[in-house]
Symmetry: C2
Amino acid sequence: MNESINLLLNHRSIRQFEDRPLSKEQIEMIVSCAQSASTSSFIQAYSIIGVTDKEKKKKLAKIAGEQSYVAENGHFFVFCADLYRHEIIGEMENKRVIPSIESTEKFMVTLIDTALAAQNAAIAAESMGLGICYIGGLRYDLEAVCDLLHIPSRVLPLFGLAVGYPAKMTEKKPRLPINHIYHENEYRSNREENEQQLQVYNEIISDYYIERTQGKRKDTWTSQMAGMLEKQSRMYMNDFVQKSGLNRK
Amino acid sequence: MNESINLLLNHRSIRQFEDRPLSKEQIEMIVSCAQSASTSSFIQAYSIIGVTDKEKKKKLAKIAGEQSYVAENGHFFVFCADLYRHEIIGEMENKRVIPSIESTEKFMVTLIDTALAAQNAAIAAESMGLGICYIGGLRYDLEAVCDLLHIPSRVLPLFGLAVGYPAKMTEKKPRLPINHIYHENEYRSNREENEQQLQVYNEIISDYYIERTQGKRKDTWTSQMAGMLEKQSRMYMNDFVQKSGLNRK
């Protein structure tokens, strides 16, 4: 097993950081690594906002549902899907690009581009001995995030990435068994087979919680997921994204 | 600079592979690394289909716009956003999860989850000395991809990942300058500043092409992008995604 694979397999989210900022060199290296990821047709459809202003970080922590590690970390990045500069390009080149920019296809492109870049940033940070945590909680109120960070239309903040020196390690939760995630030549959609696989995984997850909490907690994965999905969360998103000028048709 | 950062910075897409299949162990390690990526609220909302059937690979190559390296590689993965198993979970747990599953918010979650996993897979492969190329071209005809791979509703193939032993190296194109991608505390949306930055980058890209083609080619980035975006490509996507049971509201 090589060093990079070891790093990937040992990922865990860190939610408590030392009070020690990243250096300019570290930040630039993380961003350079992000930019080295593949990008669809070289579109480079994302931007990254580094937030160092303490008041802004506190406000973002509040938006994210009072997550202290959004404010307290070594550096906080906000990853944004971005087709704003492509709108400018359309005007510069006098080409009609808005229908493309507003399409669901390009919405998917910009989301995927941004996520690939972010994952490179995460791995770069971890390879330096730093810890990371993705902050999807920014999506509780994207309008507030956009106001706070002066984000224009055609740009959509997707998530934050808190980075810093780990103050407390966490455990790695067992993922779905590989035969559940990985298919060969065709998707195995048989419902009974899927339910059986989920029962197997439920036991793995229950055992994990029982062991970690000395028997106090024994949720299954399916109960966690059903509970989470039953709550209709962030249902404003469809309207908000369209108002931002993306995913319109 | 550590080994992993060196790997990230040296990424380039490979479009010509040796005729040498990946081993089962390599494939499983790549998938395990994919699964080690962060996942939003532990939702694990993706599946990966490995395609080894030669006829299916040929058909996928055709769908992707006659890209030979979709058929000829060491292994071909199709990464799918997947909320199908979460629909099953809703039934198992007797919870009303469909409004969540059909929301734009969860569409974004599943796209981001899938892309984070895919980028881990890409890096794992590259760390083994393999080359990779993302294949967004599958999105030319997702209905055909779904038919070929028996993909059910609530599952959306996003892109392929061709992996294999590189037969021909490619060059790395210079990315947008860091000050164009990276902002501090607020997004710099000033149009004039953006246009100036784009002109600077245009010169970088022109110089790159001129040098690489002995002066035969000298496109700018803005002309490439405007040309690409002027073509309204894959405009069926909005309807198709909604028909698949995602991004509906």
